[in-house]
């Protein structure tokens, strides 16, 4: 008889094997290319850098290919649970706009009531430092209570010190009130979830008593800028397939992305008390990217952590410009690199350790590409001159065989790994008639091409920001906990220039160096160098509102009901509340 997880291990092994084959294939091709004019130490270094980079790219591509082979399924749920367990919805806030955040809670409450569920509790867990914003929070909480008839169901507390940031905020809730609830739905300030989805999550938690955490796949909504809409399209069209691949390989050690996920409070309490790591930030101190660690700790205690990608009705908002994206990424970069301290933590499941490695790789992979490009520019300077007369006393020159075809093959292979998954996802959507919500098959396909072009322009800039983040962390600079900017995110040209002039300068130096030292590489480097030189314009242009018919997503043509509810509440709340309303609440 087969062991229950034999298939899972086989799938993981296959994915790792395919990635290794791609990486080693790239290594071999580059070694052939390097050997043609005599193998130098720099050739071996470049081949190793290509191996690691290709391995990482192939891992992403394999994940997509696995995702393409299956469709999301509802997990089996023997006798239908009622979904009446004691559940609380937690919204941690930190200097956010309370009007927008609290209106989300009101919308989710209305959505739950529409499903007949008026018994779920809500808590605003405020870590807001600004007294003015805190006063506004309390003012609006009164209105929230009045409008939802939420006394005894809606709670608000503000911590005097935000120890441990978001993880500490949740921990404070659990230690103070966790015993009052079976499940807690953890949100971000920009999260929105349909009532039906929340209730389905409660039922799934009830159906599987070993399920410690249930993660949904939140879709980005309400993007308005070119950058935001490209991210939104990518999250809506491509991410579900990548997430499916991840879900296929996760087994019982799935991911936690920090929000839009439900936890079993008992499991969370007994497993996820995070220690303060020895030493100072960025590698020591409080754990920054706590979600991955909490998922690993739940799995360590044999709780199931699961991503149910079949669940819809889970939404979030994303950054509207590259600068905000880079700021968020700086925080994530520090958090993921800090996980290097936990790779050998006692008792973790091997897959949890592998997830940490993946997170670290996501941030250091650009360094390998930059190392490869730098080494390629420097190679002609350091190479020995070709000896056309290797045989003494032989009058005829010897021309080494050209291995350019191998280099071209390698380049095609690498571009294939980058482009193929997205092209295949578009083709599958067309073949399965799933492209209609994205504007139909031709529009979805054109959007895919546009997204590929857009991401190839923005990738070198994002790569530079990621590289800077990694160096900052390695040099011991703590990025802190900046507030997320939420809003239309439009950048002026001068703001864009201020945020990216160092990228322009780097792009100019790289392109000039290539022109001087490796002119044969200049056309290969221009796709990287030109976007870097034009970074301020790219930042400014991509932050402007998008009116393109491309990159359509279902939520634009058919806004989610909970988002419509949120819009209506927000509009109503733009009018100041009546003093009587507050008096009513106090009574």
């Amino acid at each position: 008889m087969l062991r229950p997880f034999t298939g899972l291990y086989a799938l993981r092994s296959l994915a790792i094997l395919l990635s290794l084959v791609a990486g080693l294939g790239a290594f071999w091709l580059f070694m052939q290319f390097g050997r043609s004019d005599g193998l130098e130490a720099l050739d071996i270094i470049r081949a190793l850098l290509i191996l690691i980079s290709t391995l990482w790219l192939a891992w992403g591509a394999v994940q997509a290919l696995i995702g393409l082979t299956t469709l999301p399924e509802t997990p089996p749920m023997p006798p239908r649970p009622e979904g009446r367990s004691r559940t609380i919805i937690l919204m941690p806030v930190y200097n956010e706009d309370p009007r927008v955040s609290f209106a989300r809670l009101a919308a989710m409450d209305a959505s739950l009531k529409a499903e007949g569920a008026d018994y779920l509790h809500f808590a605003v867990l405020s870590d807001t430092r600004s007294d003015a914003i805190a006063a506004e929070e309390q003012h609006l909480f009164a209105r929230l209570l009045a409008e939802t008839n939420g006394a005894k169901r809606f709670f608000y507390r503000r911590r005097s010190a935000n120890t441990g940031k978001k993880a500490g905020n949740i921990e404070d809730f659990i230690t103070r009130s966790g015993a009052g609830y079976d499940f807690a739905l953890i949100l971000d300030a920009d999260s929105l979830m349909e009532g039906a989805t929340i209730l389905e999550m409660v039922r799934r938690m009830e159906a599987e008593p070993h399920l410690g955490l249930l993660q949904t796949l939140p879709k980005v909504i309400r993007a308005g800028s070119r950058f935001g809409r490209a991210m939104q399209f990518s999250a809506s069209f491509f991410s579900p397939v990548f997430a499916r691949g991840l879900a296929m390989m996760q087994g019982q050690t799935g991911p936690f992305w920090g929000h839009n996920a439900m936890v079993r409070t008992r499991a969370f309490a007994e497993s996820c008390g995070l220690p303060v790591l020895r030493g100072a930030p960025p590698f020591g101190g409080h754990i920054m990217s706590h979600d991955y660690v909490e998922a690993a700790l739940l799995a360590r205690q044999n709780w199931i952590v699961r991503l149910d990608d079949d669940l819809g009705g889970s939404y979030e908002e994303g950054p509207e410009n590259i600068v905000d994206h880079a700021k968020r990424d700086r925080r994530w970069c520090q958090g993921n690199l800090q996980h290097s301290r936990l790779l050998l933590a006692p008792g973790l499941k091997p897959w949890s350790r592998f997830v940490f490695v993946q997170g670290i790789m996501a941030y250091i992979a650009p360094l390998f590409w930059i190392g490869f490009l730098t080494a390629s520019i420097l190679a002609p300077l350091l190479a020995d001159p070709i000896d056309y007369f290797p045989e003494p006393y032989w009058p005829f020159p010897y021309f080494p065989p050209s291995e350019a075809s191998k280099a071209i093959g390698l380049a095609i292979g690498i571009f294939g790994l980058l482009l193929l998954p997205k092209i295949l996802i578009a083709l599958r959507a067309a073949l399965r008639d799933e492209a209609a919500p994205f504007g139909g098959a031709p529009v979805a396909f054109a959007s895919t091409i546009a997204e590929l072009l857009f991401s190839s322009i923005t990738a070198p800039i994002l790569l530079m920001y990621a590289t800077r983040s990694v160096f900052q962390v390695l040099m011991g600079r703590d990025g802190g906990w900046p507030t997320n900017n939420r809003g239309d995110g439009r950048l002026s040209l001068s703001d864009a220039y201020a945020a990216s002039n160092w990228i322009t300068a780097t792009g100019l130096i790289v392109t000039l160096a290539a022109y001087l030292f490796a002119p044969h590489l200049i056309f290969w480097l221009l796709p990287v160098g030109l976007p870097m030189i034009a970074a301020p314009v790219v930042l400014w242009w991509s932050s402007q509102p998008s009116k393109s018919p491309l990159m359509r997503v279902p939520s634009e043509s058919h806004p989610p009901p909970v988002a419509t509810l949120h819009d209506a509440i927000l509009e109503r709340w733009s009018v100041p509340s009546e003093p009587e309303t507050v008096a009513h609440v106090q009574a």
């Binding site: 309390q138 309490a269 790591l277 900017n485």
Partner: protein, 58 residues
């Protein structure tokens, strides 16, 4: 983000504080007491105890 509005409420927010239902959340162990090298050395000591530090040997 909208600017916070001045408020003159006498609203007592403590009346809506979280329910009192404490639950223990023990701190988890994520770091070994000894470094990797010391733990590897311990594999070769007779009773698998941690290898003594240079300071202890002195």
């Amino acid at each position: 983000m909208t600017q916070p509005q001045a408020t003159h409420l006498s609203f007592d927010i403590s009346a809506f504080s979280l329910p009192d239902a404490p639950m223990a959340m023990p701190q988890q162990v994520l770091e070994h007491d000894q470094g990797l090298l010391r733990r590897l050395m311990a594999l070769f000591t007779p009773d698998h105890t941690d290898a003594p530090s240079a300071g202890a040997r002195m």
